[in-house]
């Protein structure tokens, strides 16, 4: 018993250490974002919201947030739609080459981002589509759709396979059954996929840097500021970005697990 609780304590300590390791840089960045000193040194100066005030006063930064928001919402809509369709075709149909279809659909996140960004730039430049906001959207949709697909697929794996035929049997056309049964059943997964893809897109730097041209997203902006000088404004922007994407991910998790943890009713 004592041995067990000893192990338990050790395990808890380990988990705490992992979290400390992961979150220290972020916390540090946040601490220096409200610190009055020009350079990140200890001892700390006094508390200030000055750096936040300066970034909110900077129209370039507002513009970067606007681009990022526009991109991530567009990406979330498109990627979730494509991800849902891919997951549904996987659920509903069997066809030759399905394994290939699935592995291609899941491929993009396994490609190194720099390679992906370079390839996207090469392609988009050739067809005269680079340097626009939609260039970032297109590239991010490619990157994010597999995440959306994975989330929806997880939900579809829980569905009672009789539900859709039952809707047909009760007079629903295939489209109607999709609308009345599949989509309501997948709604938590769809919402969750939306938040997740929005977060991935909002955070993504490498691909956006290659294809964005003059339309800087927030991560691209951060790098540009960093290249010039070390400025506590970076800490302020970083903290905001962290807060936004973390909230999106947490919301995604909450929606998915709250709505789907109730036993998937199979009727038995």
């Amino acid at each position: 018993m004592t041995r067990l609780s000893g192990q338990n304590l050790l395990l808890r300590g380990y988990v705490v250490l992992v979290f400390v390791f992961v979150f220290t840089p972020i916390v540090t960045s946040f601490v220096f974002s409200v610190n009055s000193d020009r350079f990140p040194t200890i001892p700390l100066g006094h508390f200030t919201t000055h750096w936040y005030e300066t970034i909110f006063a900077d129209p370039d930064i507002w513009e970067a947030f606007r681009v990022s928001a526009l991109v991530s919402v567009s990406v979330a809509i498109l990627a979730t739609f494509i991800g849902f369709c891919t997951a549904y075709t996987d659920y509903r149909y069997n066809f030759t080459g399905k394994a290939l279809y699935l592995s291609l659909a899941l491929l993009p996140p396994t490609i190194p981002l720099v390679i992906m960004g370079l390839a996207m730039l090469a392609l988009l430049a050739r067809i005269n589509m680079s340097g626009q906001i939609y260039s970032i959207v297109v590239s991010h949709v490619v990157l994010c759709s597999p995440f959306a697909m994975a989330v929806v697929r997880m939900r579809l794996a829980q569905i009672n396979p009789d539900l859709e035929p039952a809707a047909w049997n009760l007079g629903a056309s295939p489209w109607r059954a999709m609308h009345e049964v599949i989509i309501p059943f997948c709604r938590p997964a769809i919402a969750s996929a939306f938040c997740l893809t929005a977060a991935v897109s909002f955070d993504e730097f490498a691909v956006a840097w290659f294809v964005s041209g003059l339309n800087k997203t927030v991560p691209v902006m951060i790098l540009e500021i960093l290249q010039g000088n070390t400025d506590p404004q970076i800490n302020a922007i970083g903290s905001i970005v962290f807060a936004i994407s973390m909230s999106l991910v947490v919301i995604a998790q909450l929606i998915f697990f709250r709505k789907t943890s109730a036993p998937a009713t199979t009727g038995i």
Partner: protein
């Protein structure tokens, strides 16, 4: 059903075959289903009963043959346009809709206005005595309540035929008996056709007018429960019904009373099913229903007897099934009333005699 043989069937299967790859799930099936009858499709798993039902529901398409509903070919008609609602083994209730919304589903698909829909759904919920659960989530219901929701959902469009795919298989034994009563009464009140797929003999016999016994994609026998029970036409059916003792033998004396030689002795049989003439030397299966055999401790005054060694008994209420072994190791079953059995005081290994009247023997030709 009596008097329906001349009427036009509501549903006909004509030479219906269903292949999955090279496997034939259903083979050249011919079956007529009449309006207003309770028909059970029964057989072991994999016999093709569910596939047949799904073809009728429009969820599988026959590879060959024709299915007609009301004289009209329906092979190519989508399930949505057939009006052949089904009660699923898994019930397939929609978990994101409440009870009333589930029942309304079929009406919604038929574009019935919301108020009518609600009213008709409530009528069915009342009829099935679950009106007070109308606004509940499916996950809050018990098994029996879900069963009723599934029934209401299928019946709300007032179809002429209801398909049921082992709907009671997930329920407790006492609930099964109760739901059998509900189904039986409902079918009689509504006067519509029920096609009921089951592997359970008790469910099929308790409710249906006719039973179709299937095996390996083919129909073995169609008849009333009593016919299936007393006059099985094949060894498979006699075996499947479960309470029969079957011995293979050859005819050693022809006539109104036959003599049949089997591995457990020579017996005389005066079968009532005289439609088939068994000639000298022909092989046949001799069927002695367990409930038509008697037990005695002393040698009975008849040639139709076997000496048994008691193995065990299965108590199911007033009737007990006695399992015994014959001298050559073959099994023998006898069903007796529990209070009669108590008088014999049988223990494992006890020897007793089982006997039967020669008129109670049922004979099945070997070819069947």
């Amino acid at each position: 059903m009596p008097n329906t043989s001349e009427a036009r069937p509501l549903v006909s299967f004509e030479g219906v075959t269903k292949h999955y790859g090279t496997v034939a799930a259903v083979h050249a099936m011919d079956l007529d289903i009449y309006a207003g009858e309770f028909l059970a499709l029964m057989g072991p798993s994999g016999c093709g009963k569910t596939t047949s039902l799904r073809m009728l529901a429009g969820l599988e398409e026959p590879t060959e043959g024709e299915i007609r509903l009301d004289g009209k070919r329906i092979n190519e008609i989508d399930s949505a346009d057939r009006d052949t609602p089904m009660v699923w083994q898994s019930l397939a209730l929609f978990p994101f809709l409440n009870v009333r919304q589930n029942v309304e589903f079929g009406l919604k698909m038929r574009k019935i206005p919301s108020r009518d829909r609600q009213q008709r759904a409530m009528e069915w919920l009342e009829r099935l005595e679950i009106a007070d659960l109308a606004e509940r989530d499916i996950s809050q219901l018990s098994g029996g309540q879900r069963q009723r929701v599934a029934l209401a959902r299928s019946l709300v469009t007032e179809p002429r035929i209801l398909l049921l795919d082992e709907p009671l298989s997930a329920l407790d034994a006492n609930l099964v008996v109760k739901m059998q009563g509900v189904l039986s009464r409902l079918q009689k009140e509504l006067g519509i056709t029920f096609v009921y797929v089951t592997h359970s003999q008790s469910e099929a016999f308790a409710m249906s007018d006719r039973v179709v016994i299937m095996s390996q994609g083919r129909i073995e026998q169609i008849g009333s429960p009593k016919t299936i029970y007393r006059n099985p036409t094949s060894r498979f059916v006699a075996d499947f019904v479960g309470s029969n003792n079957i011995f293979c033998g050859t005819v050693s004396k022809e006539g109104a009373t036959l003599q049949v030689n089997t591995s457990v002795g020579c017996f005389s049989c005066s079968p009532s099913n005289d439609e088939k003439i068994f000639t000298m030397g022909s092989t046949l299966n001799m069927v002695i229903s367990a409930d038509l055999a008697q037990i005695s401790l002393t040698t009975p005054q008849t040639a139709n007897q076997v000496r048994c060694r008691f193995i065990s008994e299965e108590f199911v209420g007033s009737i007990v099934t006695v399992f015994a072994e014959l001298e050559n190791g073959a099994d023998f079953k006898v069903q007796v009333r529990q209070r009669d059995l108590a008088d014999f005081g049988l223990k494992a290994g006890s020897v007793f005699y089982a006997s039967w009247k020669s008129a109670d023997v049922h004979l099945i030709g070997e070819s069947a």
